[in-house]
Amino acid sequence: MAITITESSAKHWALRFVGVATLAGIAIYFASGAAPSTLGKITEACTLAIAAIALNLLLGFNGQISLGHSAFAGLAAFTAGYSVNAWHWNPWLSLLISCAVCFAFGMLVGLPALRLKGSYLALVTLAVAFVWPTVARKFLNQTVKQSTLTGMKLKPPTWTGLANNRADRALFLFWLSITLLIVAYVVVRNIRKSRIGRSLVAVRDNETAAAVMGVNLPLTKTITFGISASLAGLAGWLTAAQLTTLDENSFTILTSIKYLLALILGGAATLAGPVVGAFVYYFVDDLLKTNAPHWDFLPGPLSNGPVASFLLGAVVIAFVFIAPTGFVGLIKSQTRRIAIVVPRPLRHSTVAEASVEESESP
């Protein structure tokens, strides 16, 4: 028999507290002892998670597919890298500007999305992702006059007490990426739990019905596109903070596909899904890349070359069958056997008023 826990009760808060404390503990554990390369990997996984969160807002909650998020991330990364290097802007200012640029550009891409759905929308956004490397190359050739753009070389601010060496920079980027991941998570969580979030889901489930209920379709859809794009921009800015050089191949269609896979593996339309999915995807990929070449038990030709990428494809397909609703869906269905969180019962006053009205109506 499963234990029932009422939402927002003391027990529920205690569980939440334990969960958050565990995560914080893990983060502090890694921050205190891990090698810079490990911290770098976690930073990259956090970046992927932010991008997957961005895509989740659009695809999971609003039902609009986008394969163009790599272009948004690329746009933000280039804006940040160029403004910091060429105009000597403050990196933190460039963060705001990059997100704003992505918001505007996302709204623009969201406009055709008003008329297109499903595979048609996938293709138009795919086109955006496809065009980005071309634009980036033109920009590099014409404006920067170099084959690569230098990254931001973000230095830890003095108040953190961190020096500007490799280990300290890795530690700084690690905490920065976690902070930004929490920001992105909270933004999407608050949108989801608010009136706007409910209208997003209504639009996803049935546009016509949502419009009849008074949801402003064009505004809701384009603004969602904009917010999602600016969150992808956050991921792009973070990439520009990590990489020493950027070029047109930093953000390709494959990047978009990676975002999509991370989201769907974790579980679309759940809040934790994109985060879990990004970490699972990143570390499965990493595990395969580092270990697969050493696996002797694989048959001859499989044990060398691009075996990791083949196995990743196979893992992705296998995942669809093991956990069709994503990793979070799998965890939820398993924990449901142990404990169930039930919504808070309605306050008595509401019920009483309703019954009074009922008795008076005839």
């Binding site: 055709p112 008329r115 297109l116 759905k117 595979s119 048609y120 996938a122 293709l123 138009v124 795919l126 086109a127 496809f130 065009v131 071309t134 634009v135 190359r137 014409q142 049935n206 016509t208 019905a209 009849v212 596909i257 999509l260 896979l261 769907i264 593996l265 679309a268 030709p301 499989l302 060398n304 070359g305 691009p306 075996v307 990428s309 083949f310 990743l312 494809g313 196979a314 992705v316 397909i317 995942f319 669809v320 069958f321 069709p324 609703t325």
Partner: protein, 306 residues
């Protein structure tokens, strides 16, 4: 004038290949409503197979046919073994499976065929000597290879249309495309029809990929990226559920691409527009068309009930 004709003819040859691959996409889409992201890589894998068979002394045309029949079987097996069970899971599942297949097939080609990443030389089944062309008025030349590609595509398209219009199997496919539930109620074996669509699509794609490899004179892991992208664009331009649309979309995209690549070099300084921008331009045109007609030029629109 001769230039214009020349660009048109070159575009027609590439465009015919786009329309062939697009037809493969449409055959699957109209039955299931799924866009097969792995289409390009599945046929690429089979084309590497054709290269391998040819490498063992079998004539090229026969190896391509053998590879296409292998792809036919493989396509059916993939539908039966992966796509059908995935479709029962969740709406995203099929998308993820096809993306997974995309990755798996591409890297499998790299694993099994040494030198696939840099490119293996691939012959053509058409006469391809420097002097194999017709001279047309205005100085344009029409190469036999281009004519051959165009004719091959036209013959396959004609055969497909005959299949759709004149045979019982084709009728069943059209019924499933129109309304899968009613088709099932009228006794159409929907599952077999869907399996056949995937098989056909894989075989068509393989021939398309082999033709591309023939024009490029080599086949590499990246061969199908651009072709698939333009073919899916062509299918969407024409309307994803219309075979005629796929043909028209493919041919027009090929011609547009050819003009954008070559023509503006003279007047809008090549710094602004060039070969790599051609695809971008093609996509802008598609965007404009889709804004006017959201389900493509020939696609059917559905009225939804609330």
């Amino acid at each position: 004038m001769g230039d214009i004709l020349q660009y048109f003819l070159n575009g027609l040859a590439r465009g015919s290949i786009y329309s062939l691959v697009a037809l493969g996409l449409v055959v699957i889409y109209q039955g299931t409503g799924h866009l097969n992201f792995a289409q390009g890589e599945m046929s690429l894998f089979a084309t590497f197979g054709a290269w391998w068979i040819n490498d063992h002394g079998v004539p090229l045309w026969l190896s391509i046919l053998l590879a296409a029949s292998f792809a036919f079987v493989g396509g059916g097996v993939i539908e039966f073994g992966l796509i059908r069970p995935a479709a029962k899971k969740s709406p995203f599942a099929v998308v993820v499976v096809t993306i997974g297949l995309f990755q798996a097939f591409n890297s499998l080609s790299g694993l099994l065929f040494k030198g696939a990443a840099t490119g293996l030389s691939f012959g053509t089944i058409f006469p391809n000597k420097p002097k194999d062309f017709f001279r047309l008025p205005g100085g344009a030349v029409w190469r036999y290879e281009n004519i051959g590609v165009l004719l091959t595509v036209l013959v396959i398209t004609a055969l497909l249309f005959l299949l759709f219009r004149k045979t019982k199997v084709g009728l069943a496919m059209r019924m499933v495309a129109n309304n899968a539930d009613s088709a099932k109620l009228s006794g159409v074996p929907t599952n077999k029809v869907l399996m056949l669509s995937w098989a056909l699509s894989a075989a068509i794609g393989t021939i398309g990929c082999a033709l591309v490899a023939g024009i490029n004179t080599n086949v590499s892991l990246g061969t199908m990226f651009g072709v698939f992208l333009l073919a899916s664009a062509a299918a969407i331009l024409g309307g994803l559920d219309s075979p005629l649309g796929a043909v028209v979309g493919g041919l027009s995209l090929g011609v547009i691409e050819s003009f954008v690549t070559n023509y503006p070099k003279d007047w809008w300084a090549s710094t602004y527009i060039g070969a790599d921008t051609a695809t971008a331009a093609a996509f802008v045109i598609i965007l404009v068309v889709l804004l006017a007609r959201p389900s493509g030029l020939f696609g059917s629109t559905h009225v939804e009930r609330v």
